[in-house]
């Protein structure tokens, strides 16, 4: 496969997202913080970086649709609504902003006392959660906003709900199936389950090693389970309903991001030594590879090289045909899988397929 390199940011990427169909990541100037997700149809890809604009790209050829200008600080996160009409972004300038995808127009700005590290729409796009940083005497919070999925509608200023994380600040959060729960990952390595309507804490579970921050949380397609990536060098597959750790994927480097691939039962992990440690630790190549694991058998099945800095974010194409990764090096790399990727099955899987085929006839 030939990756497409997108260089639209001047600094490290923070997140990439694909419009419901997946987006391809493009290089940003500077480090890429986040490769936004592909949108639901997988044709658009959004990326945010530590510079001050969001990029939208066409996933199939890497063409840049445009940039969303207006943030005054590094942008940490972006999310696309399920209808691919608007995107929300969270930034170090202490705002969450809403943008019209088609024109790049700023629709709404919400101000907060501290930086916003993560935003996510719920399944039907009526609500948006934002994770705010713990800083300057303010505790970390998860705020929920009502969203009208209409470009011309007046958005409400009111916060529907605020969850205060008084023990350990939340670093990532997301909506489960039917917006029933809000799941948050914390700085101390634990995962919490809150009620999606009232914000009551049901459950807090130390999924990862103590005080090893959870760096990413991404859902499978029906949002019944999710994958967490942590600085403790593992990624875990956890069910949303009872926070049961179903699978563990050990790696040899701190992880910054993890995603679940549709179509094939794989997960992709991204990480690498932190940029600030690269010169002070081993001179060996920094493990800046995307790692593929089999979702069920937990075996590592391959790696994809390319970045020359740690991977800050990985996003899978919702159609299952590719994935995108964004790195500290400022590039988004969009990959379309080859035939070999789709052909790969375990022996037991093949036997089962054959058995099912035999029964069918």
């Amino acid at each position: 496969m030939r990756p497409i390199l997108l260089a639209g940011h001047e600094r490290a990427l923070t997140q990439i997202k694909l419009v419901p169909p997946p987006f391809l990541p493009f290089p940003q100037e500077g480090t890429v913080n986040f490769v936004g997700w592909y949108n639901r149809e997988g044709d658009l890809l959004f990326s945010t970086a530590k510079d001050q604009h969001i990029c939208a790209w066409f996933a199939h050829n890497g063409e840049r649709l445009g940039t969303y200008q207006g943030h005054q600080g590094a942008i940490w996160t972006v999310d696309v609504d399920p209808t691919s009409t608007i995107i929300a972004s969270g930034s170090a300038d202490n705002t969450i902003r809403l943008w019209e995808i088609k024109t790049g127009k700023l629709l709404k700005t919400w101000d907060f006392p501290t930086a916003v590290k993560r935003v996510e729409f719920n399944e039907d796009g009526t609500r948006l959660l934002g994770v705010t940083e713990k800083r300057m005497g303010h505790l970390g919070t998860i705020v929920v906003l009502d969203i009208k999925l209409d470009v011309n509608a007046e958005q409400s200023d009111e916060k529907v709900m605020t969850i205060v994380c008084d023990e350990s600040k939340a670093t990532v959060a997301g909506w489960s199936y039917l917006s029933k729960y809000i799941i948050a990952g914390h700085e101390d390595g634990s995962v919490s389950q809150y009620d999606g309507k009232t914000g009551d804490l049901y459950y807090n579970f130390p999924a990862h090693e103590l005080n090893q921050q959870i760096t990413d949380l991404q859902w499978n397609q029906d949002r019944t389970y999710f994958i967490t990536a942590s600085k403790d060098k593992t990624a875990k597959l956890i069910s949303a309903k009872d926070l049961e750790v179903m699978k563990t994927y050990p790696a040899d480097t701190p992880l910054n991001s993890a995603t679940i691939t549709p179509k094939k039962d794989f997960v992709i992990l991204g990480g690498g030594q932190a940029a600030m440690d690269v010169t002070t630790t081993s001179a060996r190549q920094g493990k800046f590879e995307a790692r593929f694991y089999h979702k069920i058998f937990e075996d590592e099945i391959g790696r994809v090289r390319g970045h020359f800095g740690p991977l800050n974010t990985v996003a899978a194409d919702p159609t299952g045909k590719g994935y995108a990764s964004g790195g500290e090096d400022g590039y988004v790399r969009v990959h379309q899988f080859d035939k070999g990727y789709f052909d790969f099955v375990y022996e037991v899987e093949r036997e089962r397929q054959n058995r099912l085929a035999a029964q069918g006839h």
């Binding site: 969303y68 391959g302 090289r305």
Partner: protein
Amino acid sequence: MAAQTKHDWADDDDLDEISTDLPPPQKIQNKDGTTTIIEYRFNDEGQKVKTTRRIRYITHREVVNPRVAERKGWAKFGQSAKDGPGPAHDTTTVGENIIFRPSTNWRKDARDESKDPNAQAMKDKLRDKKVKCRICNGEHFTARCPYKDTMAPIGEAGAGGSADVAAGLPEESAGAGAAGAGKKGSYVPPALRGAGGAAGAGAGERMGGKYGERDDLATLRVTNVSEMAEENELRDMFERFGRVTRVFLAKDRDTGMAKGFAFISFADRGDAVKACEKMDGFGFRHLILRVEFAKKAQ
């Protein structure tokens, strides 16, 4: 074309720099279905650059969601507002081709390729080696020898060293021999070669004098070896008869294929005699080996 031939070739540069208008881009349809596109532009130094590209257009039809199709028609905005249709060169490039084929034992595969051959070959080479000082034959490196300032190396010490040379050198130079005979040991000025050569029983001016020493003792020459043979295989075959100190399989420098002959040195001459009898005429990889004692090079 005709106009150009009238110029002296020396004028061409000047003409190019003066003319500010570029020839129009050309598109030529080739018979084989490809299109040749010739474009001209000025580079950063103001030189005219001609770019010729041959392109084959392949129409790939894909049915997409109507909303996706609609989005493809959207106007660009923000920093991309001025970009034309298609990916812009400053933001989008195509990376190197990456071969990614998932596999359950990819880790083992990778290790087999990188570490194992080298480590294994090195182990094989060193299996029978001991560190031996060239000055006093002690078990230390020559550089560490306590006598290194007071004694000359054995090989240069005169006739008395003759036996030691025969015993010591094969081991020392085995590595070099296996590495492809590229290394001939350290340089000896012609004036001193006589002395060393005298010790080496008349090896004389020959550069490879050292090699001659061990050959006649317990070294077999094996010919009619298959091109696909490996040193390890030969070692395995001959080790049945006794301790093998050196296996040298001549290989083509470019292709890495065996050239068809090899030398096997034994520690003990009796083993070599046995091996010579048994292995001569032995069938190996569709070929019948011919084994004989290596002749002393003249």
